[in-house]
């Protein structure tokens, strides 16, 4: 928090005018979207019209509308707001909106100036928005910080919870669709800023506390809804495969990252050669695919191929894991790294010249046919209710099923005796062993199990990409997988899905940026470890491990556990918190 040069009584007197000024400022910014922001249409999306805001301007409108609400509603006074005055963090949320709006307008001005060659092409609208957000930011800094919001404890009817979950999923689907359609990098950045600002404002307000409770109470609705939304995604693309190929790649990446999440997130073993297991699965599937370049003539049905691919990967995992899991965990990182290199070099060398011809060396195996289940060929476009979906949509759906299975395995393992053993190993291996946890075999199980999942994902990837080349499986890809797990949040499903999506979608959308991608990636890893080692979405237990000295956090986590317990077991006699 910025320290302001006012004493407390002065701040008290300033509160009302500040709230008023902030409301007016944000309202002005909100209404500015009905004015043109840019003189020329090629900047961002077309922001040149009177009275007809562009999609991005509508997003800005939504953000500032939220802000006006957060600032204006407290005018009603504590008495009339009753407990709403206390359980939601109005001021903090207003501050988040104001700062977000300010950043967004600065981005918009910069984007317009860059795209059209100068500030001349900015119109009055964007400046009104800028000044309005600036005023609101200044005003919101004067307002006192709200106490911790307790919206999560609010009891609400279940139809409302389900409705909000449904609307939320629809919003996520819409956001994904909209984002993938933005081709202009400036517009993409502005959109990301706006979405992040809205999400942060809602978080400050305490909405996620309520949402977490609602989600916990309606878990089935949430899971079902999420999968429905994901299944519906290809229909929003109008038969175009451009975005679907990205989406399918994201799912393969996410499935692999989830497998890795067992190893890193649950057991705490760092595997730096995980991509080799994906590669092993892909090569196995390619060799058995019946491609004209396949080196083994036998082509089993795909279900069998999947199992073989997974088993090959798992066996490799056992081969690497057995010697290394006995010694200190640090060795594992380097041995897996070495294994990744061995795998890549071996695949390169098995070209008939330096070894038996299995993979055609650096050329790999091209021409892998599409999958065929009975009469259903994955290469064919499909028509549902008159909407066409392309080839990648088929793979997207298949990967969604695979991903769903992996998530089920992951969450169930996490809650099982095995999962508890894993977490115990992660937290303190010696203590776990002393408590009778068979550390070696549990670690080996995680390692081989993770490898199996990667092999399964790899076998689908081989058919989806139609070719498998050793150079796809370099160390950097392993590092990206680790980054997806670390960035999203070790040990969580949601976090890893988000991390995988960010790491795959951003480079696709920011191609002009690609040269600096790895540089930023390196910095990101260092700063994540330093400032938020638990990732974007934190596993609570994990968060505590990273912040052992933070007593406040420990209490918070404990309190939350009690709230959840109260929700699950409304009858205190049955609950044993």
């Amino acid at each position: 928090m910025i320290k302001l040069p006012f004493s407390d009584p002065q701040l008290q007197r300033l509160q009302f005018p500040a709230r008023l000024a902030g409301t007016v400022g944000l309202a002005a910014a909100m209404l500015s979207v009905f004015m043109p922001w840019a003189y020329r249409s090629q900047a961002l999306d077309d922001m040149t019209f009177w009275g007809a805001p562009s999609p991005l301007q509508w997003h800005f409108f939504a953000l500032t509308l939220l802000g006006v609400g957060f600032l204006a509603v407290p005018f009603l006074g504590r008495a009339r707001l009753k407990r709403w005055a206390r359980i939601a963090a109005w001021n903090d949320a207003a501050r988040a909106v104001s700062i977000g709006a300010l950043v967004a307008t600065v981005f918009a001005i910069g984007g317009i100036a860059l795209a059209t060659g100068g500030l001349v092409n900015t119109e009055a609208g964007v400046w009104i928005a800028f000044v309005g957000s600036l005023v609101a930011t200044a005003a919101s800094l004067v307002l006192p910080s709200s106490p911790e919001p307790t919206l999560g404890r609010l009891r609400s009817p279940s139809w409302l919870q389900i409705l909000v979950i449904t609307l939320g999923l629809a919003a996520v689907l819409f956001a994904a669709m909209f984002m993938l359609d933005l081709d202009d990098p400036g517009a993409f950045f502005l959109y990301v800023v706006l979405v992040v600002a809205i999400v942060l404002a809602l978080k400050e307000f305490g909405a996620f506390g309520w949402l977490a409770t609602a989600a916990a109470l309606n878990k089935r609705v949430l899971v079902f809804g999420a999968f429905t939304a994901a299944f519906a995604f290809p229909f929003t693309q109008g038969g175009s495969d451009a975005n679907m190929s990205i989406a399918a790649q994201v799912l393969v990446f996410a499935a692999t990252a989830l497998g890795l999440n067992i190893v890193i997130g649950l057991v705490g073993l760092l595997d730096l050669g995980y991509i080799a297991f994906l590669g092993a699965g892909a090569f196995t599937a390619a060799v058995l695919s019946g491609s004209a370049f396949a080196t083994i003539g036998w082509t089993p049905p795909f279900i069998v191929t999947v199992l073989i691919a997974g088993t090959v990967s798992a066996l490799l995992g056992l081969l690497i894991g057995t010697p290394t899991l006995r010694v200190s965990g640090d060795y594992l990182a380097i041995v897996t790294l070495a294994f990744g290199e061995i795998f890549r070099l071996t695949m390169r060398n098995l070209d008939g010249n330096d070894g038996p011809d299995l993979t055609h060396g650096p050329n790999g195996i091209p021409g892998i046919p599409d999958l065929q289940f009975g009469n259903f060929n994955f290469g064919d476009p499909q028509f549902f209710f008159g909407i066409e979906t392309g080839r990648f949509a088929n793979y997207f759906w298949l990967m969604l099923v695979v991903l769903g299975l992996i998530i089920v395995v992951f969450t169930n393992l996490n809650r099982s005796r095995i999962g508890r053993g894993w977490v115990a190993i992660r937290e303190d291996e010696l203590a776990a062993e002393a408590m009778g946890v068979n550390t070696f075999s549990l670690k080996l199980l995680a390692f081989a199990g993770g490898a199996f999942l990667a092999g399964v994902a790899g076998s689908v990837k081989a058919h989806m990409d139609t070719s498998v080349v050793p150079e796809q499986y370099v160390f950097l890809e392993s590092a990206f997988l680790v980054a997806a797990v670390v960035l999203g949040g070790m040990g969580t499903v949601m976090g890893v899905l988000i991390g995988a999506t960010i790491l795959k979608v951003l480079p696709e959308k920011l191609r002009f940026f690609s040269d600096y991608r790895l540089l930023l990636f390196g910095l990101l890893m260092v700063f994540m470890m330093r400032f938020r080692p638990e990732g974007i979405i934190a596993d609570e237990r994990r968060q505590l491990e990273f912040h052992e000295d933070d007593d406040e956090l420990a209490e918070e986590v404990e309190e939350e556990l009690i709230i959840h317990q109260a929700h699950y077991n409304p009858d205190p006699k049955k609950g044993d918190a």
């Binding site: 760092l270 330096d354 990273f546």
Partner: protein, 319 residues
């Protein structure tokens, strides 16, 4: 027999290179139990530092044979060592020190980040310096007359001068290291800290400074290795730290990580194994295409049969 001796010489000189880098892993691991994943990049930056000295001093005038060997090479070594030490200390301060009490995964991941960052930093920005060659490709390393490309013949065995340079450098560095660790206050502080950091702190040892000294020593030797690598392969590039670092780590584990003598022995053993595997494994699995594979197989075999390494350092597990 001559063939065998030749392979032995080749292997020893390659191993000397690994050993120089491996010391850095072992010293740091011995004290903070951290696999400094970015150490390979420190080695790479040492080579680039030396190259920079040559770009600044060595290019315009032709100083002739003896001067280039006697003046320029030491200056290049000095430049490389300074740049490497600077980088290593900076990364220690920024990426490792804040994480010293974090779970063990955190500094390791941070180290990967540093490694990727340093590689990319050199790739993107080194070539941007006016007049410098494009760093996105391999850069030819300057020719030092009297070393580059020259060789001496002893009996039937041909010894390349760069190989001789590497072995001599390892010898000099080992003596220096022995003196530093056993005869100086800082060196003995390092031993004490590696045995028990808390008690060393009680005894008045500045643990932070000692850790920095460990990073600096490792970085210095890595920079010497960087120059040796440049002379040996006559080019350097931003990627060279990855494989060399991996091999050197293998060497450190081979000798027993945490044990300085072990790193030297491990490096030499690894080098000899690699060159013997290339020469003597018959059929398709021999030859240089598989030499890296055999090196890593050796690592895995050592972990199975002798996890404490050849010289058997005590496996420290402070959970």
């Amino acid at each position: 027999m001559e063939f065998f001796l030749q392979q032995l010489i080749n292997g020893l000189s390659l191993g000397a290179l690994y050993a120089l880098i491996a010391v850095g892993y072992t010293v740091v691991y011995g004290i903070v139990q951290l696999i400094n994943f970015a150490h390979g990049e420190i080695f790479m930056i040492g080579a680039f530092g030396a190259f920079t000295v040559w770009m600044v001093l060595g290019q315009p005038t032709d100083w002739g044979v003896s001067l280039s060997l006697l003046v320029l090479l030491p200056l290049m070594l000095l430049g490389g060592v300074l740049v490497s030490i600077g980088t290593a200390l900076l990364t220690e301060r920024v990426a490792y020190r804040p994480l010293r009490n974090a779970p063990r995964l955190a500094p390791l991941i941070s180290a990967i980040g540093v490694s990727v960052f340093l590689q990319e930093f050199i790739r993107l920005f080194y070539g941007q310096i006016p007049g410098f060659p494009d760093s996105k490709r391999a850069i030819p390393f300057p020719i030092i007359e009297g070393i580059s490309g020259e060789s001496i013949q002893i009996g039937g065995v041909l010894i390349q001068m760069p190989a001789l340079f590497t072995v001599v450098a390892l010898g000099v560095c080992t003596v220096f290291l022995w003196y530093f660790v056993n005869r100086t206050r800082t060196g003995r502080a390092m031993i004490a800290t590696s045995q028990d950091p808390d008690v060393s702190r009680l005894m008045g040892i500045n643990v932070d400074k000692t850790i920095m000294a460990a990073f600096a020593v490792g970085a210095g030797l890595a920079a010497v290795a960087g120059v040796a690598h440049g002379l040996r392969y006559s080019n350097i590039d931003f990627r060279m730290g990855f494989l060399a670092g991996l091999k050197a780590f293998t060497a450190a584990v081979l000798g027993g990580i945490g044990n300085i003598n072990g790193a030297v022995v491990g490096g030499l053993v690894l080098g000899v194994t690699e060159s013997m595997a290339t020469a003597y494994i018959p059929g398709q699995f021999g030859g240089s295409a598989w030499k890296d594979v055999w090196a890593f197989v050796l690592l895995i075999l050592v972990l199975v049969f002798r996890p404490q390494g050849l010289l058997g350092a005590k496996v420290v597990d402070r959970a």
